[in-house]
Structure formats: C-alpha cells, structure tokens
Amino acid sequence: MNKKTRRIAINVGGGFVPGMNTVVAGAALAAGELGWELVGIRNGFDGLLHPDHYTEGGLVPLDRKLIESLEPAGGGILGQSARVDPFHVRQVNEDNLAEEVDMSDFLLERLKEEKIDALISVVGGRGLSILYKLHRKGLNTVCIPRSIENDIAATMVSFGFNSALSFTIEMLDRISQAVISARRIGVVEVLGEQSGWLALQAGIAAVADAILIPEIPCDLHTVAAKLKERISLSRPYGLVVVAEGAQLAEKPQGQAEKPGSGSLKDSLSPGATGDSGEHVIQRSGQAAKTVARQLQLMLPEETYPVVLGPLVRGGPPTAVDRQLGLAYGAGAVQAVKAGENGVMVAFAPPNIDFVPLTEAINKVRTVPADSELIQIAQSLGICLGREL
C-alpha cells in the first residue's frame, strides 16, 4: 500500500477519563506527519455499526485543522459508548424483539468498506479483551491503555491516572481542612476496586493517618489504635483514605460486613472474588460507610464518610496526562507504521513500548507487597491497616 494513502481509525471505549482529546490529537498529528489519513469512529464502534444514526456518517476525519481547534481540557471529540462490545450489540429486531447480536463480522466488513486497515483503540481492561478477541478474528489493532485506577498490567502508567491522582490529592487537602475545622475523622473513599494505587499515592501525598487498599486486608482495630495515638486535644481530627475494594482481614463479630460489601455493593461485580458479592464495579460509597461506622464504634471522635468515586473522572488533564496522551497517541501510530498488530502501547519510562495484548489482558496491576510506596507510607507513620 502506498503510505501516502494509508487510512487508519481511532475509537474510544467506555469510561471517561480527563483529556481524551490529547490521545486523539497525538494520533492525528503523528498520522498527518506520515501523510496518512486518520478517522475517528463515533461512540465506540457505533459510528461504524450504525452510520445512519449520524448526520456525518459516524466517522470523523481528524485533520490537523480540526485537531488544532480542540480544547485539550474538553470532553472527548469522538464520544464514547457504554457498550463497546461488537460481539453483543443490543438491538430491537424487525419483530420488535429485544436481542443481543454478534456484529463482529459486520464490523470487520465495515472497516474494509471504509478502507481502514488498522484501528487504534483507547480502552480499559475490559476493552482490551474485546479488542484481543477482534484481533483473533483478523482485526489489525493497536490499543492504548486508559485507567483511572492504573490497574492495567504491562504499562507503568495508564492514561488518565495522573489526572485522577492530582484531583484526588486536591480533594483530600480540602477534606483535611474540613475535618480540622469540624474536629472529626474523615473516611474518604476513592476509586480502586482491585488495586490501591490511587488510594496509596494520594493518601501518601496528603499524609493521611491510614490508607486501606485491596492488596492489604485490614484490621480496623489497628487503624483505630493508630488514630487514638494521633488524635489529641491539639490535633482533634483524622484522615483515613480507603480504596473502594478494600477488604477486612476478619469480619467484624456478629456481622458479615467488609468494606465494599453491603446492600448496594453486593453481587454486582464481574471482577468479584471471595464470598459472593464482596465487590462492585458500578456503585460506590459502601467501603467508606462501612469503615466509618466500624471506627465510630471504637473511637469517641465523630467519623464521617466521604465518597470521591467517579467525581475524579472529570476535569482537565494534568501536564503529565497531556504529554502522556500525546505520546500514547503518537506511539500507537508508530506501532502501526512498524507493522505491530495485536499490541498495546505501554509506558516503560523513559520509553514508549509495544507489548502483545496477551500480556495485558487477564492481569491486574496491583500494588506489590514490597512496593517502595508501601515502605514510604510506613516510614511516614501512615497506618496501612495491619502490621507489615
């Protein structure tokens, strides 16, 4: 194929993270430099599967002029789809029956029709599996990892994490001022169902009294003891940061509760483990509520839960994410140029590498027990929920 005429596409999976436009811009500018045409697919795969739903046909030509007019801090130009799975597309058929149909073959045909010979997808963990499945059916694909929780394996930093981290730290600072003023113990829940990077790094930055993460099942008596030690007449407040997937080492006596369990969080998570219904992927708030309630039984000071949850998905990207987004976008185009296929762009400082999708799927990037961050937290006197 004449490189001047090469046409590639980019789309974005479900789940918003700040600064999505920077990834799109990085890919568009890099493609433009090669003389390639980059088109954006609207709303996941929807623009290709249902072009009739869009006045412009579901594809957006991403030329330099358009890219230069984009607000880096604005919402994603391509939109997103809650469901990006072409293997299970929900529709109402001619008989008015609701059904899920496999449109993966149709999707591959549509790409051919549009003369698109490679697809760059900005996706989270679930999206990587779907793209891998499409790759096995013949799709030429390069994925870009995006994750607020930084839980995607095979890359040091996923796109979106740094912005979420910065905003979480800012919120923890504000909450700290509030708990100082109110003389209370704030229990702040942050995102992180299976990995505790966000809680750990933000908690360290805010110098929390305790940080509870999924990787270290916690004993709330240990947390209460630390708070008792810290709280005094001259310091009548406390700050506990809890990841939404944090777990108790043992269930409280007479209760079947764990952080992350309860009526709302029960039984909803495809990623769940342990007893049925210990985690949730959608709803938040139960971990903070549970920890705050249990600590309240052990401490005289008033505790109260605060849930940051999905709030951190919004807002402008940080300087790091703006650079990372551009680098990931350009890196994906370089991967296509290098003939890479079925790979994910990975940040391995100082390099942007490509790793096979099989190295990224079915893995969760968790905080290792010997992580330097854990040692830093301990050396700062931050309680991690149990003696390590």
């Binding site: 799975d85 293997f87 929900r90 109402v92 008989d95 008015n96 029956l97 609701a98 059904e99 899920e100 679930r126 599996s129 779907i130 891998y132 499945k133 299976q194 999924p214 990787e215 009526s263 709302l264 029960d266 039984s267 909803l268 998570s269 495809p270 990623g271 769940a272 483990t273 342990g274 007893d275 049925s276 219904g277 949730v280 992927i281 959608q282 709803r283 099989t358 799927i361 079915n362 893995k363 969760v364 968790t366 905080v367 290792p368 027990a369």
Partner: protein
C-alpha cells in the same frame, strides 16, 4: 429444535429451571417451569439468567477452591484466556467473560466444585412433565398446577403448547406468565392450552416503556386486548412490577385499570413491589446491574396504590 413432524412429547425447549412448591405464580401450589430467552430488557430484571436464549456459562466464586488447590480451568480443554488469577490477591479464579463465551456445557462440567456451571438446558416435553407430575397430588388438593414462566415463554411457542397440552392431558391446571412482546401467532398457538394467564403491564406510555424495557408497548397492548377478546374462558391476571420513580404512580395504575376493566375475564390486577433479590445472579453471569440506585417501594406507597385497585375491583379492606 421444534420440528413440526416431531411427536409432541419429544419436542424440546431450553429450560432454565423447574421450581416446585411455588405459591406466587398462579392459584394453589404450583410447579413453575422457567424458560430461557426474553424479548424485553427491563432494567430491574431479577432473572438475568433467563434473558439470553441459549444455555450460558455461570460462575459462583464462593464454590471455587482456588488456583493452587485446583486450577483445572486454567488449562486445556478450557478456552485459552477465559479464566485467570490476580497476583497479590487471593488465588480464586476470575472469569474473563469476553473470552469465556466458548466454554460449553461439557467443558464447564469438568469443574470439580461446580463453581462453573450452565444456566439453561435443552429438555424434552416428556422430561419436563415427568418432573411436574411428581406433585400432582398437591395440585389437586390446593387448586394448583403448572406455570410456565421465563424469560418470555411465548418465544418457544411449539414447546410451550406441547407442554401445556401434555399437562392438560394429565388433568393439571395450566398458567403462563408473560410480558406479551411477541408476534400474535405465538400467542395464538399457546393460549388454547392455558387456564390462567398472568401478564405484565409494566408501563402504559410507549416512550417510557421503551426507555425502561428497551421496546415500546404497542404490540404488547394489542396482543393482550386480542387475547382477552379471543379467549374469553381464560382467567387473566394483570400485574405491574412496581419500580420506584418508574411506575409507582397513580397515573400508571389508573391507566392500567382503564385498559383492563372493560374485560370481565381480567379477574385481578396485582402489584409486585420491586426487590433486589436478583442482583447476585448478575455477578454469576458477569453482567452489570443497571438499576443500582433504585430502592424498594415503601409499604405506604404500595398500600396507597393497592387501595386504588381494590376500589376498582369493588373490594374493600375487610374483603
């Protein structure tokens, strides 16, 4: 599956479950046969395992003994990449639901603790009726019988008709639960063998019906009206799953009453207050539950709406 030349007793259908001693699916004590496949997508669905038409993999993590002790599903013949463990957490198996779609019944059955299993199985009419007939004496003593539920049982009309006809032949009372969103031909084929039809009127405004169930209700209402008129001997019971903010308002209840009251064979209208009992099953299937923010309706709200129904049916509190 339902070849026209097949003997009725040999017709097959995809059955989700046969539940004995049911008391809320029609009169008396009943055996309810749940069929797989549904033609609406209610966001409050408490039976998500009944939605897809074919048997599908399910996973009960509480039964998994972990990768170290077992780990069978991490190797062939289980599909590559379908199951995995996470470093640093416990060693329980996780399911990659996108890659596990190739795991069939034969493979799932290799799981020694039954943590992996299938929702749905192909059964013959004879196999189902053999199970149903075990409780024939209960049906006689309580006025009960067999109820077909789902999913949407009208989606398997030949199997349903043969099952219901077979039950009638054995003197068993028959009932059917339906949302009614099917071609009329399906309804027409099944109803000659039905004694009681419990049917949902979830929402009366088409746009709202489409928003919450995925489809509009035009054909549903047409089907029910036609059924009332074509089958005068069937006892119809209308029902509304009462979902806060969606349809727990007087306007909806009165609209349903206006629709059913002209038809004397609609003998009752029941409210089914929303519950969250089905949420655990979403986890078993790896599906996200979409209605997490809703609460169950208050007793006061249910009583207030029930009073409107009682008044319309000429019942007072002492009845």
């Amino acid at each position: 599956m339902n070849n026209q030349t097949t003997k009725p007793s040999e017709k097959t259908g995809i059955v989700l479950n046969i539940q004995r001693y049911c008391s809320h699916d029609g009169p008396g004590i009943r055996t309810t046969v749940f069929l797989k496949g549904c033609s609406v997508r209610c966001k409050w669905c408490s039976n998500p395992e009944s939605i897809r038409p074919k048997p599908e993999l399910a996973y009960d993590v509480s039964k998994c003994t972990g990768a170290e002790e077992c780990g069978l599903c991490l190797k062939s013949p289980f599909p590559e990449g379908a199951f995995y463990v996470v470093d640093g957490a416990d060693d329980k198996i996780r399911v990659n639901w996108d890659l596990a779609t190739e795991c069939d019944e034969e493979t799932a059955s290799l799981c020694p603790t039954d943590a992996l299993y299938m929702f749905g199985k192909e059964l013959t009419v004879e196999e189902v009726l053999t199970e149903v007939e075990k409780d024939a004496s209960f049906y006689r003593n309580t006025g009960g019988g067999m109820t077909l539920s789902g999913g949407e049982c009208f989606l398997q009309p030949d199997f349903c008709a043969a099952l219901l006809e077979g039950a009638h032949s054995s003197g068993i009372n028959t009932a059917i639960e339906t949302a009614g969103n099917v071609p009329w031909e399906n309804v027409e084929k099944v109803l000659p063998h039905v004694d009681v039809m419990l049917h949902d009127l979830k929402l009366t405004i088409p746009e709202r019906h489409k928003k919450w169930t995925g489809v509009d209700n035009k054909r549903i209402l047409e089907n029910f009206k036609k059924a009332y008129e074509t089958f005068p001997d069937i006892r119809f019971i209308a029902r509304t799953p009462l979902i806060p903010v969606v349809n727990d308002d007087e306007e909806h209840i009165r609209a349903v009453l206006e629709f059913i009251r002209p038809h004397k064979n609609v003998i009752d209208y029941e409210l089914l207050p929303y519950h969250r009992f089905g949420t655990g099953k979403y986890e078993f299937l790896g599906i996200v539950y979409e209605l997490s923010d809703f609460t169950t309706p208050s007793e006061e709200s249910v009583q207030r709406l029930q009073a409107i129904i009682d008044e319309a049916f000429g019942r007072n509190k002492e009845d």
